[in-house]
Symmetry: C2
Subunit: 460 residues, 2 copies
């Protein structure tokens, strides 16, 4: 788009010259996120405080200029991409941990704090922020809030939304609002806090986040089991849940993913196995011991080929090694990885894998799966040859079939990554016309002019 | 109000005659809830299914007739009271448990199921629905969802909202929508599920609820400690949280409440004590043992006068007896009990009690406090002489001072009961004009004509 005349000057007046950039290199640097499909903004602003954020919003509102908020740019669905140009507002200068409160088990942060840094800062005081997206050392807490990030520990601890107590946010019309409170319960008016979490930067600009913490679990232990097939592994998950055990994490890796890791590291990691489970327990020491004992028995009874237990941190790291190698191993294949984070009720994971097998056969595709089996949240990675347009077309067909099947299995097309613009064409597989219309009216309640992150979530 | 001509006939045509009543006795029976301040509706409908609910909504929409949903009528803030008359829609015929799914740990219910019945039904299959409002044997799950009910176990397990995965609901404009899914994660579009939980029947009529369950904890144990003063008791809470212990519940009873119980049961229950804590742990047996050991040590180190432990169910019931007697004991005083469920960050509970002492002295009021200390959620009960208008006026002044102080302590004026019409005049103590206006725009997105539960939440 072309910006209104005088607009950049007005931004510079509000933010000071260092807060506003429109040189081509900067615009290019803020064009894309981890999805890898970008569109350059017309100007990039880096406000220094909430007041400057509000000033930018008012200017964009006044001139009807698209306004797209950007955190660390690690999103998988293009949430931070300014698909209609306009302003990218990077929160990178809002990067302070403002308060760690060990008495009330809370932390107050600005959105650009890297999630891993936040975790380490609270752990130094014996506290625990559980959500652990794979991107935790590169993604920011603001982005985690915008997308409602998950991770392995969501099985026991829930996703980001469970930890967000209060938000300071700027509406696209310029008002500064505060939602929730530092108290852990609050039923005063509508729960705007939970509405903003996962709203993908389309409703408001979050400038301050109050998170609930837990005491850091004093003990932790891990068990890794291999299985001949996916169904046995999923039976193992069901068996241990039914024993009354709630591990911190239950992670699943399928045969294709295991073979990719073996090719990458140059040695067998799970010989004879077509599925692998990693189960981690945490809590007070006696509980951890008991849970790992029960988990091991349940996994053995479900037909595990091998079971390995780790107690020390070094042994734990070794068991998690396979899981951690996965992204590198899949990337090292040289193929394009299209990662879909579908989710089904846990007991229907075997049916999800049947669908994946069908898609492989029907469309001649390579698909590697791994993920959070306890939550039924499986990352289905379509592995495509760069430049093969025929394969890409088949993948597009397979995606729609996958999403349709997932919804038929009472699941959801996204458990972690959100919709952005990448999945917007598929929204109507999961939501009815009435439901989409209602969400669009909610969007209008926050953003009557539709300037905030346009082109996201809703099919255009 | 006077209903439009032909309106009741149209309702009868849609629902059949047994589903529609406008005789004076029925209207009177549906006028009030547990707040005790009612207003009669003009007609009561009892739809048999979701389609009939939608038909009622469409008729009310067409004729602009107020529509108020009623569950079990146990709310404390008048949420089910038709303050502007019109239609009361009682969900009493939507009372089935539709599916208990032990593999996926979910249950699907209709809104009129009594929460205690739901808990017992899932417990029979080894499953656990944690939220435990004091009213659980009389309140319905639909009401619990509408208000986001809490209870003692919220400390470890969270409130109702943590368990609601999916909803079927009818909009006041008549559309039937489905939010969320049976999968435990879902980030597709806005989280309307969480927005509807706690919305006090002002956004949509919930007709079906899918809840997440947990495995029933195999073991449970309880410890009761008495203290010379509130501050020592709260220090005990802080100490045990900082040891890394997360009990299922941490309940606090103050001296005035203890004395009321003693007067009621005719014997000392906590001699020499001005505060009492009940701590309950649940989980795998070894963990429960370790947590109770740690909790007892922490309470002793914080200066407990006495510590009693219970392991058997009979012993547990005895320890909980004091807590369970509280409502009866306070009612038996013959005074009117006005129960405010304020909440502050846990570490600020001593400051909250200082405010209560100040209010007692400044306004000559009797105030008894108890509640969920782990959550900082204290029920502050103003005990008033019936007919004493001077005391009632002083109580009104004290309420506003209490709420103002609670917000200054970074808390909230309601942690469990919601706003209804009873607390609507105080909403602006906690929320700014911009925040209230935003919530009203959200309300309009669901209910453009403003027919659904008018006169609630927002100051008129």
């Amino acid at each position: 788009m072309s910006l209104p005349s005088g607009f950049v000057g007005a931004l510079r007046e509000a933010l000071g010259a260092p807060g506003v950039s429109d040189d081509p290199a900067t615009l290019e640097a803020y064009a894309a996120d981890a999805l890898g499909r970008g569109h350059a903004p017309d100007v990039v602003v880096r406000p220094a405080d909430t007041g400057q954020v509000a000033a930018v919003a008012r200017l964009c509102q006044q001139h009807r200029v698209p306004l797209v908020v950007r955190g660390a740019g690690t999103g998988y669905t293009g949430g931070a991409v300014p698909v209609h140009g306009g302003v990218v507002l990077s929160v990178e200068r809002l990067n302070r941990i403002l308060e760690i409160d060990p008495v009330n088990l809370t932390v107050v942060v600005e959105p650009a704090v890297i999630t891993g840094d936040l975790q380490r800062a609270v752990e130094a005081q014996g506290l625990f922020y559980p959500p652990d997206p794979a991107s935790l050392d590169s993604s920011s807490i603001g982005g985690n809030v915008a997308e409602c990030a998950g991770g392995p520990r969501a099985f026991k601890y829930g996703t980001t939304k469970r930890y967000v107590l209060a938000l300071e946010a700027v509406l696209p019309t310029g008002e500064i609002i505060h939602t929730g409170s530092k108290a852990v319960k609050n039923v005063v008016g509508y729960d705007l806090t939970q509405l903003l979490v996962g709203s993908e930067g389309t409703l408001a600009i979050v400038t301050r986040i109050t998170l609930r913490l837990l005491p850091f679990p004093p003990a932790r232990a891990t068990v890794l089991a291999t299985f001949a097939d996916i169904r046995s592994a999923v039976n193992g998950v069901t068996a241990l849940v039914q024993l009354g055990v709630i591990p911190a994490a239950i992670e699943l890796v399928d045969g294709d993913s295991l073979r990719a890791v073996e090719a990458h590291v140059g040695r067998p990691v799970a010989p004879g196995a077509n599925a692998l489970l990693i189960v981690e327990a945490d809590g007070v020491p006696a509980a951890v011991q008991e849970e790992i004992d029960r988990a091991s028995s349940a996994l053995a009874a479900s037909g595990a080929i091998s079971i390995a237990r780790a107690a020390t941190d070094a042994e734990r790291e070794e068991l998690w090694g396979v899981r951690r190698q996965l992204s590198f191993a899949l990337r090292a294949t040289g193929l394009i990885k299209i990662n879909h984070d579908v989710v089904v009720p846990r007991g229907r994971v075997p049916e999800l894998f049947e669908e994946v097998e069908r898609l492989k056969a029907a469309h001649g595709l390579r698909i590697a799966c791994f993920g959070h089996a306890g939550d039924g949240n499986i990352h289905v990675n379509l592995m495509l040859q760069p430049g093969d347009t025929g394969e890409m077309a088949r993948a597009k067909t397979a995606e729609r079939e996958l999403f349709t099947r997932v919804v038929a299995l009472e699941g959801s097309i996204s458990g972690e990554h959100g919709i952005g613009f990448a999945k917007a064409p598929y929204l109507d597989i999961e939501l009815s016309r009435d439901e989409i219309a209602l969400m669009q009216r909610v969007k209008q309640a926050f953003d009557p002019a539709g300037i905030l992150n346009p082109g996201k979530i809703f099919p255009s």
